[in-house]
Amino acid sequence: MGHPELAAKFVDNEDRAHWHDKALWFVREKRDRMAKSVPEWESLRAFAKQIKTNTMQNLDVYLEEFEKNATANGIKVHWAKDDKEHNEIILKIIQSHNATKVVKSKSMLTEECHLNPHLEAQGIEVVDTDLGERIIQFRKEPPSHIVLPAIHLTKEDVSETFYEHIGTEKGNADPTYLTRAARAHLREKFLGAQIGITGVNYAIADSGAVVVCTNEGNADLGSTLPKVHIACMGIEKIIPRLKDMAVFTRLLARSATGQPITSYTTHFASPVEGGELHVVIVDNGRSPILGSDNYYQSLHCIRCGACMNTCPVFRRSGGFSYEATIPGPIGSTLEPSKNIAAHFTMPYACTLCASCTNVCPIKIDLHQQLYYHRQDIVEAGLLSPTKQRALNMAGWVFKHPKMLDFGGKMARTFVPFVPDFIMYSSLNVWGKYRKMMDFPKKSFKEMYVERKGSK
C-alpha cells in the first residue's frame, strides 16, 4: 500500500487524527518559542550546516580519525557494510559473553536493521527501555515518529497495553501512574541485563568519543549497569571536533521537543570499570547518497523530528502512513534515495509548503529534495497509468495556450451544471476528498486584459 491508502485509514478515526495534528503542532510551537529565545539561532543553523558539509566531504578521514582515537581510548570499533553485517556483529558480541538479556535504548538504526527479531530468533531477550518504545514493543508495532514513538496512541491504549503485559490496574490511564509502573518494571530489566545497546547521536572524531542524548535516563542506565555497552551508528553521525558539540547541543532538543537541552547528554570515551564498549559503524546504503547533487544534504540530518512536527501532511496522516523506518519529510527523501520503487509514494505526501526546510536546524533543503524525487519517480515510470495519463494531458494543454484558454472557458461554462452524482461519483477520483469550487465568471487573463487594456 502507498501513502494515500494508509493515510485514508488514519483519517478514518477523525477524533484521533485531530488530536495527533494538535499534539504535534503544540510541539512545533514549543520549538518556535525556544528558537526565538536564542538571538544567535540562525548563526547556529549556519554553523551546523557548515560543519556537516565539511564532515561529509571528509567523511573517510574523520571516520578513520574517530577509529584511531576511540581505539586508543579502549573502545572496540566495528564496521558493517549493511544491516545483515550489523546484526551479525552484535549477535557475535552478545554470544561471546554467553549473554541472553539485552536492554536497548532508542535507536532508529537498529529499527532500520531489524535487529530485535534477529536477536530474538537466537533466544535473546531484547527489552526496549524508552517508555514509548516499550509500549509499542508490547503492541508489536514500529515507532510512528522518530522522537515520539508512541504519539499515535492515547493514554487509554497505553493503559490497556500495560494492563495486559505488566499488570497495571484495569482502566487506570493516569500518565504518572503508568510511567511509574513502567519505571518499576524496567528497573528490574536494567538490573538483570548483561548487555546494553544504544544508538549514537554524535561520534566525535578528535576525541574518539560517542554522545547519547535522552530525557528518560534509559540509555544511561543501559550503558552503565551492564558490563558491555554496544553503541550503533550510521556513518553520518560523525562530527569533527568536541567543540562542535556546542552547536548541536544548542540546536537538537530545542528543535526536537522545545527543551533547552535533553536531560542527559552523555559522553562515552571509555568503557565502565572492567567492561567493554563497542561502537558499530554502519553504511547500509548511505555512502552513495554522498555523491548526489540533489540529495547529499539529507545525510546532514540529526534526527530531531522538527520536520515531522511541522509537516501539515505528517500531522494529519500519522507516521505509519509512510510505511518506512523514517517517516515524514526527511524519511520521504532518505527512503526513496535508498529504494525508489518501494517508497515512491512518499515524496508526494507533501504540499511543497517548505515549512520543513524552514525549521530544519541543519537547513536541509527538504522540500526541494521531495520535488526532485518526484521527477525521478516519473522518469523511472513508477506512477500509476491513470496519474501518468492525466499528467501527460495537463502537460500538453499547458504547452498550448489556446487550448488552455478554451478549456478554461468550457470548464467555467459547463462545470457548474455538472450534477453532484456525477461530480462525486466513484469514476471521478478527483472528487473523492475534494469539493468543487465556485467558478469565477472570467479567467485571470480576461480580467487582466480588461484592466490593463492590452495583453
Binding site: M56, N58, D283, I289, G291
Partner: protein, 195 residues
C-alpha cells in the same frame, strides 16, 4: 576487502569535492545574561529541577535534610556534606546502588542557558550512581557558571575520566499522550546547590 575498506572506498568514490572549512567560534558572539545564577535557576526550574545559592557550605546538610527528610540511604562524594560516609565507590557492582535514595555529587560547572550541570567525577567508580538514585543533589562552586554551551565545551575534557554528562534537571518523559511526567528511569528530582 574488509568491510571497513569497502565502506571507505565507497565514501571516497562518492564524496563531493567542495572545499568548505570548519567554523571558527573564537569571535562568535553568544547570548549574554546579566545574572548567571538567576538565569540558571529559571532554566533549571523550567526543566523540572531547582537551584539555590548557599551562603556557606555549612548550610548544605540542613538544606538537603529539608528536601529529603525521610531519606535513609544517602551517598555523597562532596566535601562538606556530612550526611553520609559512603561515597558509593566501595561496591563491586553498580547494582548495589539500586536502593540509593539521595546521591549528593559534585558538579564541575553549570550552564546558564539550559540549566545543565557538567558531571564528571573522575574518582567516582560507578557511573550508574547518577541514574539509579531516586533523587539527585548536585553541588557546584558558586562562580562556576558559564553562559552557553560554547563556553561549556571550552572546559570539557574527556581525557582523564573518559566519561561525562550534562545533566539538566531530573529524568522525564512525555511519551504517554504528551503529558510531562517527571521521574522516568533516572532521578525523580534534581536540586543544584551553589556554594
Amino acid at each position: 576487502m574488509s568491510s571497513k575498506e569497502a565502506i571507505l572506498k565507497s565514501i571516497r568514490e562518492h564524496k563531493k569535492d567542495v572545499s568548505i572549512g570548519l567554523p571558527d567560534f573564537s569571535s562568535f558572539e553568544t547570548m549574554k545574561f546579566d545574572n548567571l545564577f538567576e538565569q540558571f535557576k529559571n532554566a533549571v526550574i523550567s526543566v523540572g529541577g531547582n537551584a539555590m545559592m548557599l551562603k556557606s557550605i555549612d548550610e548544605l546538610d540542613e538544606q538537603i535534610k529539608a528536601l529529603h527528610p525521610e531519606a535513609k540511604r544517602v551517598i555523597s562524594n562532596v566535601n562538606g556534606c556530612n550526611l553520609s560516609s559512603d561515597n558509593g565507590s566501595s561496591y563491586d557492582t553498580p547494582n548495589e546502588l539500586d536502593s540509593v535514595e539521595v546521591a549528593v555529587i559534585e558538579g564541575g560547572f553549570a550552564v546558564a542557558e539550559n540549566g545543565s550541570v557538567w558531571i564528571q567525577n573522575s574518582q567516582n567508580r560507578h557511573r550508574a550512581l547518577y541514574y539509579l538514585a531516586e533523587h539527585i543533589v548536585v553541588v557546584v562552586k558558586k562562580d562556576e557558571i558559564v553562559p552557553t554551551m560554547f563556553e561549556a565545551y571550552e572546559r570539557v575534557s574527556l581525557d582523564e575520566a573518559g566519561y561525562g554528562t550534562f545533566m539538566s534537571g531530573p529524568s522525564k518523559t512525555a511519551d504517554i499522550e504528551q503529558s510531562l511526567v517527571i521521574g522516568a528511569h533516572g532521578a525523580k528530582s534534581a536540586f543544584i546547590f551553589f556554594v
